[in-house]
Amino acid sequence: VLTAAVTYSKPRLATFWHYARVELVPPTPAEIPQAIESAKGLVKSFQAGRLSQITVKDALRNGLVATEVLLWFYIGEIIGKGSLIGYNV
């Protein structure tokens, strides 16, 4: 059963790595100032009143991305507390 599981998961693991190597990589130190820049740009555009001009589709997409970022916080909490459901005190 173990060899069957390995042969099943190898190609899927390969596709996961194929995407993760580009998409899930932590930001290089060169990209962090870029990130701060785009965050500032976001704040400025909201101050300029662009909030009334976003399409619903764009708003939904940004909402999904924001939800995914918050999701990583909860994954970090699971890792930090050392158990999947609830704190094992």
Binding site: E31, W72, G80
Partner: protein, 71 residues
């Protein structure tokens, strides 16, 4: 297969910093909750001993005072 998309740096930093903050928060909260739970367990054990003593006495009194003929 669709080629992998270039994620914007803002989203990348946000994701990984959220992961880090989550890990720190989980660890800190665990360390805060652990002694509280141990204290509660200790208090519960003490009260359990006291309660069982009281129950034992009550049971003995009840046995001594009921009107059964099976003694």
């Amino acid at each position: 297969m669709v080629p992998p998309v270039q994620v914007s740096p803002l989203i990348k930093t946000a994701r990984w910093s959220a992961l880090l903050v989550g890990m720190i928060y989980g660890k800190k909260r665990y360390d805060y909750l652990k002694p509280i739970a141990e204290e509660e367990r200790r208090v519960e054990a003490e009260e359990k001993v006291a309660r069982e003593e009281a129950e034992r006495i009550a049971r003995q009194l009840a046995e001594a005072s009921d009107d059964s003929i099976l003694k």
